[in-house]
């Protein structure tokens, strides 16, 4: 009697809880147009979940996306990302001009820009900020973004020039390296008669010349490692170099050698090592945003703390409570303060997706970062009118460690690629588009994206047979590949539910089409990165890459050296095509060359492309001026809260201009 009571009681409580949760779930999911409450906040305060707690408010330090969005509120650069297309739009620079081969750019700055403490902003702020960002001591993780600047790389690496003490001449790089491309215009003497700048109606006058400018316009100098040990090692390996260096003095590459110059207070000239037509597009990146010299020099590492920090963006820091919230408010000193519509932005640092979505549903936040809708919720949230559905400049793929057998055989790699049905994968994943190339589809207008091998299990089995691992068909219709060394291949991924599902999906495809069962192994994020970056894995690793800037090169450059991608693959032929492309001024021809390089790489199959990702986030319909662009970066001054319900967004706002 008693026992029954006890059981009944427990069962009843459990049942009630379950029934209630199912019921509330059902109530929440049906019929409503939007996911959760849609009451606009009382004041013009925008509440946003930006992801992890920011590492630092110093734009030179962090390379994370959560931080990038906060920097976009606090700091400005020469240009800003267009809210829809992400193309560079004028910000502190009103306009700019490239020289004839895009190896040098002149920026004309606005004269009314001020720091949040009222100090004026001029070209010297850029010179200081760039020199600081690429200095060795700053140890910026983004410094590589600036390596296009003349001498930025040797400066960041702490290298030295080699100078002849007798005549003061520097040794030149081209005399010791035959593989160097021809000097760009920024590396040849300035010819005032001919001029590398074609006059435009906007600026009839070419920018003033200077001694520094002329000194930059000489062939690239040779640089050697700064520390004695590695320099000696290098010299011992190269007798010709060793002879040439004998009796010469080593001069450290200094901040003043960098290819950036304040021509006057409001004109800035940037000289590059190579032609880089996409360079202006990179300049909205955080590492190129300016920092306040006085505050940095006064407070050192503490300059970003509330009370010390001085900013230059549309918003300034109000309060910062780590892991709780970071509040920025409209800065009256901002040059365009009149067009800033929000009074405050509250950034909430959170990373647990269900928690974030709950907060959104009850209306405590107005929008959330990308990739927050959990897979299991998609079938409900995707039908709502506040779900953002747009392509993303980001791809998913599998890396192959091409340095270890059996995956060092391109036939084996191609076989594994051809045995994955990417259309089926995309259909299963719901929000992605199938991909056979290594650049995202539908992002770079006019880019003739090549196609890789299509799904073809018969061909895959044939290739595997040619590689010495014949696939046999069993009586029940399944396949087996007894000779394949399965113990030499595994699939690693970082622990996460969706990564696990993806791994199992791929495993099933290979089992089904090749008769090979690949072992799956999960590890925590940092362990995974370590294994991937050091090529300390056999077989496959989960891969994903999002654009650093809006150009196919940001994807293809992953294979520029053997170290970058995690596949151990690169090829001189491929690198030559990339270099040639970047020297090509005609953007169509350049795209053709990049596509050729991509096709070359796809043939070598260092990766198995899977899909072009889609954005996956929600924003309340009353949030306007915020678009699901391809990198989820938002210029905050255009964002506002619309109180007129008739003007609310219904569905994904259009990205068309």
């Amino acid at each position: 009697m008693v026992h029954i009571n006890l059981k009944q009681f427990t069962a009843l409580v459990l049942l009630a809880a379950m029934a209630y949760s199912t019921l509330s779930c059902a109530v929440a999911s049906s019929s409503e147009l939007y996911f959760g409450k849609t009451t606009p906040p009382a004041r013009n305060i925008f509440r946003y979940v930006t992801g992890e707690e920011p590492e630092s408010l110093d734009p030179a330090i962090s390379n994370g996306q959560p931080e990038a969005r906060i920097y976009m509120a606090l700091f400005e650069g020469l240009v800003e990302y267009d809210p829809k297309t992400l193309a560079p739009i004028p910000e502190l620079a009103t306009h700019w001009r490239p020289n004839d081969d895009s190896s040098e750019f002149t920026f004309y700055l606005r004269r009314d820009a001020r720091w949040s403490n009222g100090d004026p902003i001029d070209a010297n702020d850029f010179v200081y900020s760039f020199r600081r960002a690429f200095a060795k001591e700053t140890a910026s993780r983004n410094a590589y973004m600036g390596y296009y600047l003349k001498y930025a790389q040797p400066f960041n690496e702490g290298k030295v020039f080699v100078r002849d003490p007798r005549n003061g001449n520097f040794l030149l790089a081209k005399d010791f390296d035959d593989s160097l491309p021809p000097e760009p215009l920024s590396g040849t003497p300035v010819d005032p008669a001919k001029g590398e700048y074609q006059p435009t109606p906007q600026d009839a006058q070419a920018p003033a010349d200077s001694a520094f400018h002329q000194s930059l316009h000489t062939p690239l100098r040779l640089t050697l490692p700064g520390d004695e040990k590695s320099r000696t090692k290098l010299l011992n390996a190269d007798p010709k170099l060793k002879d040439a260096v004998a009796g010469k003095e080593f001069v450290p590459v200094k901040a003043e050698d960098l290819g950036i110059e304040a021509v006057d207070n409001y004109t800035l000239r940037i000289s590059l090592t190579l032609p880089a037509p996409f360079f202006v597009g990179m300049l909205a990146h955080q590492v190129f945003r300016i920092v306040p010299r006085k505050a940095v020099e006064n407070y050192g590492e503490q300059w970003t703390q509330p009370g010390n920090i001085v900013t230059c963006g549309p918003f300034k820091l109000k309060t910062w409570q780590p892991y709780d919230k970071l509040v920025v408010e409209r800065d009256p000193m901002y040059w365009d303060a009149a067009s800033v519509k929000l009074d405050e932005i509250h950034f909430y640092p959170m990373s647990d997706n269900p928690t974030i979505m709950n907060l959104y549903k009850v209306g405590d936040v107005d929008a959330v970062l990308n990739h927050t809708v959990p897979n299991a919720w998609l079938h409900i949230v995707r039908t709502k009118q506040d779900y953002m559905d747009a392509v993303e400049a980001s791809i998913d793929y599998l890396l192959i460690n091409t340095t270890k057998p059996p995956m060092n055989d391109v036939k084996v790699r191609r076989a594994f690629n051809m045995s994955i049905d990417k259309n089926a994968w995309a259909a299963w994943r719901k929000i992605v588009k199938p991909l056979t190339a290594f650049t995202p589809t539908g992002i770079f207008a006019g880019y003739p994206q090549p196609t890789g091998d299509a799904f073809n299990p018969d061909e895959a089995r044939k290739l595997l047979g040619e590689a010495g691992y014949p696939v046999t068909k069993n009586s029940d219709g399944s396949y087996s590949c007894p000779k394949f060394p399965v113990d030499q291949v595994e699939y690693i991924y970082n622990t996460q539910e969706s990564n696990k599902a993806m791994a199992e999906w791929m495993q099933a495809q290979w089992k089904q089409n090749l008769g090979i069962t690949v072992t799956l192994r999960n590890m925590d994020w940092k362990t995974f990165l370590n294994a991937k970056n050091k090529l300390d894995f056999k077989g496959f690793a989960r891969g994903a890459w999002g654009a650093d800037y809006m150009d196919p090169f940001t994807f293809l450059s992953l294979f520029y050296t053997v170290n970058d991608s995690g596949s151990g693959w690169s090829d001189p032929e491929f690198v030559k095509l990339l270099d040639e492309a970047n020297r090509t001024l005609d953007s169509k021809k350049r795209y053709d060359l990049l596509a050729q390089a991509e096709a070359f790489m796809l043939k070598a199959q260092p990766v198995i492309p899977l899909d072009t990702a889609s954005v996956n986030w929600v924003k309340k319909p009353y949030v306007k001026g915020m678009y699901p662009n391809a990198a989820s970066l938002f210029a905050w001054k255009y964002v506002y809260i619309e109180r007129d319900q008739a003007k609310w967004d219904f569905g994904t706002p259009s990205l068309a201009e």
Binding site: K325, T355, D364
Partner: protein, 308 residues
């Protein structure tokens, strides 16, 4: 008593040194760095970072420096992940959050747990007893990562009564759900401990004596039985309170609270060495201290302990 306290304090120091050393070694054994990311950094940039944070020095130098700073100046250094933020500041800032939630949860657990446990013991084998013990069983069996989301589902997402997460200061409505979630298991545990303790005491000779003296039932229970019956609860309180004070990883994560537990888990995932060491050391010290308090409280509550 004083000698006892001093002896306990002295044992604490070598214990902490061992804890810190082990933590330090374990972090070094874990693959990956605080700066590693999706794209591999060029070797030169990696070198710059290692030089900036002194990671290029030999391990014994790094170890000696860390130890000296902690032992001599009680300075855990600067977080690697959070540029310019000292570990001491981070602990000072996040401890009140964890402590507020933890202490409230424990007070609630004590209040409800002791009440339910006493009732169950006094009305042993009655309907009350079974009902409260069934509830306690449920409280112990349902983990907080299940209870938390269910509470959120009911009170936030369906009824819109309470905020689903985030820290809203102290006191605020935001505290209710995390405190409830956190206290459930302690409540249940305390109820069971109280019941068991009370049952044992209620059968003892001195309670019979008290009753024989003609004391009212109220006096017997509150003045005599409860004092003895709560001994197991007291010994449980030490470690429980230490853990509650220093943050509870799961609850702080579910409710996005800026507490010590949240920092701890993130610091481990980020390989933020100074922060991990700082928090581990802090938790160990708290735990040792709480256990000492428990021993003292024991002596106070039970004269027999004092004599030994």
């Amino acid at each position: 008593m004083l000698r006892f306290i001093i002896r306990r304090l002295l044992i604490t120091i070598p214990t902490i040194i061992v804890v810190i050393t082990l933590t330090w070694a374990l972090i070094r054994l874990a693959p990956g760095n605080f700066y590693s990311g999706e794209k591999r950094l060029p070797p030169a940039i990696e070198k710059n970072i290692r030089e900036k944070y002194g990671l290029d020095k030999p391990w014994y130098e790094q170890y000696a420096k860390t130890m000296a700073n902690i032992l001599l100046r009680f300075d855990f250094g600067t977080s690697l992940r959070f540029e310019g933020q000292s570990v001491n500041t981070i602990i000072r800032r996040s401890l009140p959050v964890s402590a507020a939630v933890g202490i409230l949860a424990y007070l609630l657990a004590l209040l409800v747990g002791v009440t339910i446990g006493s009732i169950a013991a006094l009305k042993q084998n009655s309907r009350w007893d079974y009902a409260s013990m069934a509830l306690a069983m449920l409280g112990i069996s349902v983990p907080n990562f299940v209870l938390g989301p269910i509470l959120v589902l009911v009170f936030s997402l369906s009824l819109y009564w309470l905020p689903p997460s985030r820290w809203g200061g102290f006191p605020s409505k935001n505290l209710i759900l995390p405190v409830l979630t956190l206290s459930a298991i302690y409540m249940a545990y305390i109820a069971r401990l109280t019941r068991a303790g009370m049952l044992e005491v209620l059968r003892s000779d001195y309670i019979r004596t008290a009753r024989a003296k003609g004391l009212s039932e109220k006096d017997v229970v509150i003045r005599h039985a409860l004092r003895g019956g709560l001994m197991p609860v007291v010994s449980y309180t030490g470690p429980a309170l230490a853990f509650l004070l220093t943050g509870t990883v799961v609850v702080e994560r579910i409710f996005a609270l800026p507490g010590l537990g949240n920092y701890f888990i993130q610091a481990s995932l980020n390989r933020d060495e100074p922060l991990i060491i700082g928090i581990v050391a802090f938790i160990s010290i708290t735990l040792l201290f709480m256990n000492m308090l428990v021993d003292i409280a024991y002596a106070y509550l039970d004269p027999r302990v004092r004599y030994h």
